[in-house]
């Protein structure tokens, strides 16, 4: 049951005159033009703003190298799920708000000239939740990366599995991990980049399993909701709990990378991870 194709309005409609953004961390008022030049990192306190998928791509890959794959994938409503709102209405609203069809886009491109397959998630689309479309895009990206022996990069920004798709959303953990395991066996490298937030089932599948795991400073990264973690168990949470630096300290993140260094570090890692000549097995 394909959904009716939404009409996309420009994101700036009705907001063209808004020129300033307030930093939620230091409260500084920042001129959007300046903020964009700073890659959406607060010049005052270093807060890393969440990024729209196209903006993330623009920061990472070579100009003009992007080619989106499978743009036509859209969510359906397998459960006929209705909470305070019907699932299809939530999807349509998210599409209109973001200009995306779902919470991830994938395609091929280059970073400092090196070809790669890349998936970028967008938290603004229903909290970056992973349903069948996100899972399908990750799996297709991994399968294409394997066929063409392209390194894979996934930039996560997600609250976890999409409840409105029930266990189908949960099954995306197995779908994506299955594809990534084949990629690993074929010795095609995979770099996971965790941005704010990367939680729940997204963290408990592809986000946690990079050959190299990178994270943006202070990004929220965890499995259980902190409310649950504290609430149900009634323990006090350690300082910095579920932040990128906490994960680094506990051995699950290779490097915490400030956004301005991200493109350069990914390029550098790819020069090491991609075998110059095929590895004689």
């Amino acid at each position: 049951m394909p959904m009716k194709f939404p009409t996309f309005r420009s994101r700036q409609a009705g907001t063209a005159e808004k020129m300033w953004t307030r930093c939620p961390s230091c409260e500084e008022q920042l001129f959007n033009k300046q903020l964009e030049k700073a890659m959406y990192v607060c010049p005052t306190c270093g807060h890393h703003f969440r990024l729209a998928a196209p903006v993330r791509l623009g920061q990472l890959i070579d100009d003009g190298s992007w080619e989106e794959h499978d743009p036509g994938l859209v969510s359906v409503d397998p459960l006929g799920f209705v909470d305070q709102k019907a699932y299809p209405d939530r999807v349509a609203a998210a599409q209109v708000a973001t200009g995306l069809r779902d919470a991830a886009i994938w395609g091929t491109g280059r970073i400092e000239g090196q070809p790669l397959a890349i998936v970028v998630m967008d938290f603004a689309f229903m909290g970056g939740s992973m349903g069948a479309v996100v899972g399908e895009k990750v799996a297709r990206a991994a399968e294409t990366a394997l066929e063409e022996r392209l390194p894979l990069v996934i930039v996560s920004a997600s609250g976890g599995a999409r409840m409105q798709e029930g266990t189908f959303a949960l099954m995306q953990l197995a779908k994506t991990m299955g594809a990534l395991e084949r990629l690993r066996e074929a010795r095609v490298p995979y770099i996971s980049i965790m941005s704010d937030p990367t939680t729940g089932g997204t963290f408990a599948s592809y986000a946690a399993m990079g050959d190299v795991n990178l994270a943006e400073p202070n990004a929220l990264i965890g499995f259980a909701g902190a409310r649950v973690g504290a609430g149900t168990i009634g323990q006090e949470l350690p300082p910095g709990f579920q932040r990128a630096e906490f994960l680094f300290h506990h051995g699950f993140v290779d490097r915490v990378v400030a956004r301005p260094d991200l493109r350069r570090e990914v390029a550098q890692l790819l020069r090491f991870l991609v075998p110059s000549e095929p590895v004689h097995g």
Binding site: Q84, M163, T167, K175, P238
Partner: protein
């Protein structure tokens, strides 16, 4: 060990309290199933083994940090089949429940499971998993020691393990903590078991803003295994004795055993390459989506900063860059499942 299991089985013989007839109203009927799935006297892995296994030898430890008693693992002889078993275990009493963290595994539990599954692969033993996991342990140590990494790695291992895997959802199948031991060539389920991406309470508190709507969420998520069978997530549902599995461990175990042996006979006859490819396809195809024709609606990718004068695009993006307040951020609906 088998003796002990058998005793456990006897400990949990039918209770005098009869279970209420499931009500007619679908929401109430569905919620009644959730209650049956959560019944404290429901048999767990060791109780089932006490009924169906002629031999069982438990193995312990993750070889890294500890031994998590919320997961039991070992070798069992069931009928003519020698298999590796991995399953969740709750306690028969409070002391045991504390020891077993009320059946909520820590990372050590999944790492032990992976170790035994890899050993089974090397020894050519099929793997049978008993799943009754409300969720992975949500505590801080669980996060500190990498619960998400352990779940992801275990799920990944099971997608490629070169030996047959039979998974049985026997009670609560909750989120990634359950899936971590539930990726199989065939997924069986007991009649009153449930399977969901998040607990109905968690779902309700996020989408309905109150846990009181848990029965509504439970119905909306179609978490009964009969609904899950219709969706193709569960392959076969095993009828429970009248009143539920907790009323008759023996009968429940025997019904389960018959289906399990049939599936072991079937799966062990399939060449491993075919088996593993079919398993991959099974999960590769789960989930529903549509594919539209036409150009991508996605806006053009803006060039990297440093290149000048593209203010319009920058402004648009600027709007998108505003995060929610740290407070609101933790549960922006409908963003996330919990354990």
């Amino acid at each position: 060990m088998v003796d002990r299991i058998l005793n456990r089985g006897r400990d949990a013989e039918p209770s005098v309290a009869a279970t209420p007839e499931p009500p007619a109203d679908p929401k109430a009927a569905n919620w009644a199933r959730v209650q049956l799935a959560r019944n404290l006297r429901r048999p767990r892995t060791l109780e089932f083994l006490g009924v169906i296994a002629d031999e069982f030898i438990e193995l312990h430890g993750d070889r890294v940090f500890g031994d998590d008693e919320a997961i039991v693992a070992g070798f069992a002889k069931i009928g003519d089949h020698r298999v590796a078993v991995v399953g969740q275990q709750k306690g028969a009493d409070t002391e045991e429940n504390l020891r077993r963290s009320f059946g909520m595994p820590h990372p050590e539990g999944y790492r032990k499971a992976m170790r035994i599954m890899e050993l089974a692969e090397r020894s050519g033993l099929p793997v049978v998993t008993f799943v009754d996991v409300p969720g992975a342990h949500p505590g801080p140590e669980s996060e500190e020691r990498g619960i998400a990494e352990a779940i992801a790695r275990s799920v990944g291992l099971m997608t490629r393990l070169r030996t047959p895997i039979v998974t049985i959802i026997t009670g609560e199948g909750g989120s990634g903590g359950a899936l971590a031991i539930a990726v199989g060539d065939v997924v069986l389920a007991l009649e009153n078991a449930v399977y969901s991406v998040i607990s109905p309470e968690g779902c309700a508190s996020i989408l309905w803003r109150t846990a009181d709507e848990a029965p509504t969420a439970a119905l909306a998520m179609k978490m009964s295994v009969l609904d899950q069978q219709a969706l193709g997530v569960v392959d076969e549902v095993i009828a429970e004795p009248p009143g539920g599995a907790h009323t008759d461990h023996e009968e429940t175990g025997l019904r389960l055993k018959a289906v399990l042996l049939r599936e072991l006979d079937r799966l062990t006859a399939i060449p491993l390459d075919v088996l593993v490819e079919d398993r991959y396809r099974r999960y590769r195809s789960l989930g529903a989506y549509a594919e539209l024709a036409g150009p991508a609606p996605t806006q053009p990718v803006p060039p990297r900063p440093g290149l000048a004068d593209r203010l319009r695009g920058l402004l648009e993006a600027g709007q998108r860059a505003i995060p929610a307040s740290p407070a609101g951020r933790r549960d922006e609906p409908p963003a996330r499942e919990d354990v």
